[in-house]
């Protein structure tokens, strides 16, 4: 694990400024810390020699105020860096995924955890670990450099002992690596147990097994404590060893300075500066180690996110960019699939094999058995999936999926998510699909809150809202997956007419297992399971 990954700055330009400001603040803090040592020793000298205190005190107070301002700035900039780096990473990640097809994205579980807790874990990494890292890179160097000028023998002691810290850390790490690894995995299992049992509570309660787990919870928590303490003991011991090493080094500086002072070969002021500066060379290095542990999650998440951002672009860009809606496709555009084969990522069995299809303006109805790849066909046309073989040429499409997305928010927001529309247009579309009455009866009408996932609307009403949105969409190609699924026969017949009207103006491809739509079809396509005998596709032209 690298202390700092420069890929961060390349991948997330928004991170450059806060990280830069952090570095600058770190340098200034280092300078102020060194200067404070001088001012303090001047004050002490003035006190013991009963000299004039005014000037050193003014310096000292000014430096404390400056350090206070810098501490406030570090806190402030750290928080700013944390939130902007993690937000920028999350936004880049989601934008990158948005440009990819379904198979080049990680599975939903991984995607959600990376975009939520993963990006959030980077926040402490940037807010706390990075400032410490800057501090550790700047202050020891400044301290040793100053010591070389003020009192070189002390500088020599520091230069000889300082490398022992990382060396000891590495030695301790290596000596305990094996047992630490073993303990960590045991620890992960033990600490996961409580979460596992608690998340399983509904199941355990259902089957009357919850209460007998109480003793297990107690016993495992106790084992968890003992295992944690074993691991912590090693960690604490090694950090105590490093601290001891550092204090002994500082004590050597103090004693040699003391001896030289008593010989009269050194001035008091220089001696004081030396003993005040020596600790500054050691502790930032130790603190990096401590902060690194708390930021380790962030470092791991950062690595995973940067790897996702480095992910090669999908082999073929989405149809929307390949084939922008233009005159080349004729008045209404045209959808053309040539010998398209598609298998889900990781699967060798294709869902769709050797499928060819041309859908011109008007209504194409696709039917076929469950699992025959009907929805996959629409996904391919919409560019959400990329064929394993063959080509798909289609203008940008508006696609009403089986469970269409309806955002939390007002009816108006749900309908205009992809395109602007005036209230008159909204009402017109609602009238067209026959939910104007329902929406008008809602409190607030178009402003009525749909709530989480469209609270209070039946599946059929949601379906109609999604069709109203499709009605408003500017795209020339309309893909509908089971548009009449949740409706009673009358409603389905009405919506079939709506779909037919829509097909007057556009290319409409509808997947259905019901008859109402077929009556309006200009072209009827039957897909079969690829394993079924015969041609994978029967196309049957029908005229209204």
């Amino acid at each position: 694990m690298k202390p700092f990954d420069p890929r961060l700055l390349r991948a997330v330009p928004a991170a450059r400024r806060p990280v830069g400001v952090l570095a600058a603040t770190g340098v200034l803090t280092g300078v102020a810390t060194i200067a404070t040592a001088f001012a303090l020793s001047a004050v002490v000298v003035a006190v013991v020699e009963r000299g004039d205190l005014t000037q050193p005190l003014v310096w000292l107070l000014a430096l404390f105020v400056a350090r206070a301002a810098l501490a406030a700035t570090t806190e402030w900039v750290g928080a700013w860096a944390g939130v902007s780096v993690s937000s920028a990473l999350r936004a880049s990640l989601l934008r990158a995924w948005g440009a990819r097809d379904a198979d080049s994205r990680p599975d939903p579980g991984t995607a959600v955890s990376l975009a939520t807790s993963g990006a959030a874990a980077v926040e402490p990494y940037a807010a706390r670990y990075l400032p410490t890292l800057v501090h550790a890179a700047v202050v020891p160097v400044l301290a040793v450099g100053t010591l070389v000028v003020v009192d070189w023998p002390s500088a020599l002691v520091v230069v000889l002992t300082l490398p022992l810290l990382p060396l000891f850390a590495a030695l301790i790490g290596r000596a305990t690596e094996e047992s630490t690894q073993r303990r960590w995995s045991a620890l992960a299992a033990l600490s996961g147990h409580f979460l596992d049992v608690v998340r399983g509570l509904p199941t355990l309660v259902t089957y009357g097994r919850a209460r007998r787990q109480v003793d297990t919870v107690r016993a495992v928590s106790d084992r968890h404590r003992r295992a944690t303490m074993e691991t912590l003991r090693i960690a604490f011991l090694s950090s105590a060893a490093l601290e001891l090493l550092a204090t002994i080094s500082v004590a050597i500086v103090a004693v040699t300075v003391g001896l030289r002072l008593s010989h009269g070969s050194m001035a008091l002021g220089a001696g004081l500066v030396a003993i005040l500066l020596a600790p500054e060379a050691y502790w930032p290095v130790r603190r990096v180690g401590a902060e690194y542990h708390s930021a380790a999650d962030g470092a791991v998440a950062l690595d995973a996110i940067l790897a996702e951002l480095d992910h090669p672009q999908p082999p073929s860009p989405s149809p929307a960019t390949l084939f922008p809606p233009n005159a080349a496709f004729g008045v209404g555009g045209e959808v053309r699939l040539e010998r398209v084969t598609y298998a889900y990522a990781g699967s060798t069995v294709p869902v769709t094999r050797d499928l060819s299809l041309v859908a011109g303006p008007r209504l194409t109805v696709v039917t076929g058995p469950s699992g025959g790849g009907k929805s996959t066909l629409l996904d391919l046309v919409a560019g959400l999936r990329v064929p394993t073989a063959g080509t798909v040429a289609a203008p940008r499409a508006h696609y009403v999926t089986q469970r269409p997305f309806l955002a939390t928010g007002s009816v108006r927001e749900a309908l205009t998510i992809g395109h602007p529309a005036t209230d008159e247009q909204l009402w017109e579309s609602l009238r067209a699909v026959g939910v104007d009455g329902v929406v008008a009866s809602l409190p607030g009408g178009l402003s009525a809150d749909l709530g989480d996932d469209g609270f209070g609307l039946s599946a059929g009403q949601r379906q109609r809202l999604a069709l109203a949105r499709a009605w408003l969409a500017p795209e020339t190609v309309l893909l509908l997956d089971e548009p009449t699924a949740h409706l009673d026969p009358d409603g389905a017949a009405h919506l079939a007419q709506v779909v037919a009207d829509l097909a007057e103006r556009r290319v409409v491809i509808a997947v259905t297992h019901r008859d109402e739509l077929l009556a309006h079809a200009d072209q009827h396509v039957v897909v079969r399971r690829p394993d079924a005998a015969g041609s994978p596709l029967d196309t049957e032209e029908s005229v209204r």
């Binding site: 939130v83 509904p202 097994r209 209460r211 601290e243």
Partner: protein, 590 residues
Amino acid sequence: MSADTRPVWWPTAGTLRGGLLGGIATASGMALTATSGWLIVRAAERPVILTLLTAIVMVRAFGMARPVFRYWERLVSHDAALRLLADRRTRAYEGLIPLTPARLGRRRRADVLTGVVDDLTDAVDAQVRVTVPVLSTAVAGGIVIALAMALSMPVGLVMLALGCVVVLVSALAAALESRSLPELLAARAEVTRVSELVSSQSGELRAVGGWATAMTWLDRAHDTLARSTRRISAGRSLAASLYLVAVGAAVAVTAVIARDLDVATPVKALLVLTPVAVSDAVTPLVDAMRALARARGSERRVDALLGLSPAVVDRTTETAADTAADTDVTVAARPGATAYGRGGIELRDVTASWTGGRTDLAPTDLVVEPGTSVAVTGANGSGKSTLLAVLARHLDPTSGTYHLGGTDALDLPLAQARSQVAVVDDETHVLATSLRNNLVLARPDATDDAVDDALAAAGLTDLRNSLPDGLDTTLGAGGRGLSGGERARLGIARAHLSDRPLLLLDEPVAHLDPPTARAVVEDLTSLTGRTGADGGTRTVIMVTHRDDGADLFDRVVEVRRRPSATMTPTAVTQPGDRTHETGRPPRPGR
């Protein structure tokens, strides 16, 4: 003060010891700085070397005491905190049992439960991050003030004043932190919500051209988060800087006093350097106040949840669902199964409410013959899940009657009523244990053959055969992961193995793609009417939002939201030979 009303930072015996040890460590650190100063100034007076030896020994002693005591303190306080954590986890787990599942919210219960686990950890964290550092600073501060007073009363008073300022600044920091924290947490939650939505629904969003709009939601959530982070960091910045200004002022005043003090010059140096050393002890307080606000918030959330009263009362014992709800009655209650399995379900005018406020289930009648399968549909919020919770005895009805096999279900011992029902929801939990253990928790005496039967019935034979160690393969966290479809099927296999006469399913296939969903429902409905070990026949009731194979059920009923409308079994909308009218006797076991 009783254990439940204590503030979250209240020390345990262990962290009290940790605080004292930490105080010695901190004081040693201060003494190291001060005695080093004394040593240097004394050396500059060029005394006989031997007289310096005492000081050299002291410098070394303090230098070694600090890491040693710090190590000791960390061991003691972490052990104490982990003991407290073990205790609180056990108590919280016990407290959650009677609240499960009805009081855990109606959606995403696993997230609520994960929240409890995290909150407990944060609350106990206060011991190590707040109690011990504050005690350490207080102990060290007390020692320093006392010693300073012994050397010079005016300097001692300066140190006392510094101590008071530190207390005030800490109080201010804690107050500012507490004030801004809820806003920050809300902003974080919104970012999580939007990014979860965008990352899990990116296909649906792109399908309707809503991608760009969703990204503006994300940007807005990020802006709000940035604003509230700035606000909370303003408070932290203020505290961090005030500590340093106070220390600077204390050094200056001490220097002025010490200059003309009638003590040995090395002691003057010692006095001037003491407040400087204090700043090292005070800096950790910024973090401590931050952890305090966080722990208080977590504690409040845990208390609020655990303080709820259970949603069901056991009339036979006149107690809220607690111990009785969960003792292992699976075997003891078997006789009741006959009545249940043969008698069917009869709900009359049942209403129910999750919170006691608004009515979530309007007056509802429902009659289900044993051995039939029923799909319950209805708009979001119409009360489908509420109905299921009443049937499962997870929630007491507000009014109306609920009869099981002619007996008032509310008069049955809770544990007995519940032992008749297997519930499968849309978030089947796979425990981190073997496949066998994951199943037999539903019936501890099940043989491997019975387990294999259940797997076959739920369509999991292929999975079982593909596992390296068969039934002994570890699943769940740290083991083999299962797909959403496999998880749903595992829940169904569990329910089947339990051999309970009533199978209740709450949108078990909500998160599956349509072909998988339909396949799962097909396997599921084939379990209907099976004859159990006790001779009863199994009834299956499934709540579904979309028409995931609703046509495969014997009956489809719709729940309506309007308080005036009672639920009536609607005409079956899907044609098909498997549908038949309400009240038809159950077909023979399939």
